[in-house]
Amino acid sequence: MSGRETVLITGAAGGLAGIAVANLADSYDLVGVDPRPLPKGKDFPGEFHVIDYQHRRMGEVFRSHRVDVLLHLGRIPVGARLRSSDRYDTNVLGTRNLLQLARRHGVSRIVVLSTFHVYGAHPHNPGHLLEDDPLRASQTFPELRDSIEMDNLARMFMLQNPSIHLQVLRPVHVVGATIQNYISQLLRNDFCPVLVGYDPLLQFIHESDLARAIRLSIESRRSGVYNVAGEGVISYKRAVDSAGAWAVPLPSALVYGALGTLSRFRLGFPKHLVDFFRYPAVVSDAAFRREHGYQPSISTIEALRSLRSLRAVVEPPHTAG
């Protein structure tokens, strides 16, 4: 199988990696790493190592597999049931270690999956956020600083190492039948809270469109930061509607208060996400579309419907297992 390039995928035990991998396995040799073991019943089409990204042993993985492409999907989102210092270690120290190893071991391309959350939801946001707009998320939600720092680390690396093609992708809310992020879990509920008086614009991308976008990034030999979005904008209420849920209006003071209390016990919905149900954070993915020839294939409505229509099929084995 020589001649095929090797892609090292972080976060390989996660749902998004599963989808990305399905899109890559036919043309690349894959190596997966994740601090978490693979969930039961799931396997990885290649070698898989349970390992912390900041661990010394990471070097051995790069050495033994002659990695050509690093696909860093392993950012831990806020709200994962982890201490924030552990999250910081993985997202910041882990990313730094991975980037340094990639340089030392001759990796030619790197794709880092960041998130549009770094822009923050803010009433003063421009109608369409561009890649060089300020990352003001940490102004209101300091918990997001490790995500911003990770994004910054990657960009700094890109400027300092022009011979390595590095791309930072900032996707909008990812939804789909298999993904298990907060927004998908929220919209799969039968009842979704809606903040009284607020109905901001959101953007969704279907998991398979993001998988294609990731593949386009890996294949293009360029460096840059790119917003990645789906078809277009939709208001939150209409999104709840399209996902087949009922909107339950709640006063925002109540929601913020309750989440503040819950978060002390590391429960509930991440508070920084609540702002995204109040103020707009709409990105423009024009650069990604132009430079990568990307075009989403699944409409916003279809993407939202897929959350529920397939849940019936996907869920029973989960609850049984």
């Binding site: 009433p123 003063h124 421009p126 109608g127 369409h128 009284v196 008086g197 607020y198 109905d199 901001p200 614009l201 078809e231 277009g232 904008v233 939709i234 208001s235 209409r238 999104a239 399209s242 925002s252 103020y279 707009p280 709409v282 409409s299 916003t300 409505i301 279809e302």
Partner: protein, 286 residues
């Protein structure tokens, strides 16, 4: 969404509905354009408020054939404490322009923080007044409304009515940069709807507001005093003005162009008032 449909059925004729559907909009599968405009909300809002245009202010619009297709900047005089003038211009473009156009108003930066208003305005196609938003809208061939007087205009007292205040220059630079024709618009009637006798600047400053209008009726007559007077409103759309020059040119040159637009609008306003005579409430009817 049933009630929206009902309002539209009750309040709009079939041809009006069709006209809005034919307004050059780019709507995605979820029913929104790139800036969050939702035509159904816009139609419902028009259905509910049309009487304000036709019966309350009895608006007479002229000069709409001057409107070129594609990108255009509507520049208007501004007054009357609340942006009734903006609302009526927007309604005239939906009800009377051929084809109908959705006017993108440049709203104040604090509006998106407000509950209810923020999402309603956004669904009606209104955008935060930000240079980048404005440039992008023009590049996408939209119709943008700017009041270069800003709060200097809306806070005018009744004694300053129809005396155009200093114009900001941002709109000229954007017009030069994007090659957009400017349509001067003169609105007469709105500046008397709230005859503010003082702007109470010192107290307003304490409250963090740009001005605090006091009319003979407000706040003394309570909620009824808060209603605008049913003046007769005329809206004149002038011939397009096209400027050539360097969008990054010195402020003096840009100011001269802004003043040219201002003078044109002032002349249109004066002319409209002359035609109306003293008949503030019935003027255009004759």
């Amino acid at each position: 969404m049933g009630w929206k449909k009902l309002l539209i059925e009750l309040g709009l004729t079939d041809s009006e509905k069709r006209r809005i559907d034919d307004a050059q909009l780019d709507i995605n599968s979820a029913g929104f354009d790139d800036w969050g405009l939702d035509p159904e909300t816009l139609k419902a809002a028009l259905a509910v408020t049309r009487w304000i245009y036709t019966d309350y202010f009895r608006v007479r619009a002229s000069g709409l054939p001057h409107l070129p297709p594609g990108r255009v900047l509507l520049i208007s005089n501004h007054g009357g404490q609340i942006p009734l003038d903006g609302m009526l211009i927007g309604m005239s473009m939906l009800l009377e322009a051929r084809p109908a156009r959705v006017v993108r108003g440049m709203i104040e930066r604090w509006v998106p923080g407000l509950p209810f208003i923020s999402s309603l305005f956004s669904k009606m196609g209104q955008i935060v007044g930000d240079v980048r938003n404005c440039r992008e809208l023009l590049e996408k061939e939209q119709c943008v409304l700017v009041f270069p007087e800003g709060v200097r205009g809306s806070g005018k007292t009744i004694f300053q009515r129809y005396q155009l205040q200093r114009f900001g220059t941002g709109f000229v630079r954007l017009a030069l940069e994007t090659g957009t024709p400017i349509i001067p618009v003169a609105v007469v009637g709105c500046e008397e709807a709230y005859p503010s006798v003082t702007a109470l600047k010192p107290i307003a400053k304490l409250l963090g507001a740009p001005y605090l209008p006091m009319t003979p009726f407000f706040p003394f007559l309570g909620p009824i005093g808060a209603l605008p007077l049913p003046t007769q409103v005329t809206i004149d759309f002038g011939a397009p003005m096209v400027f050539q020059g360097d969008p990054d040119g010195p402020e003096l040159e840009i100011e001269a162009m802004a003043a040219q637009v201002r003078d044109r609008i002032q002349a249109m306003v004066d002319d409209s008032i002359k035609r109306r005579g003293g008949k503030v409430f019935t003027g255009g009817a004759g």
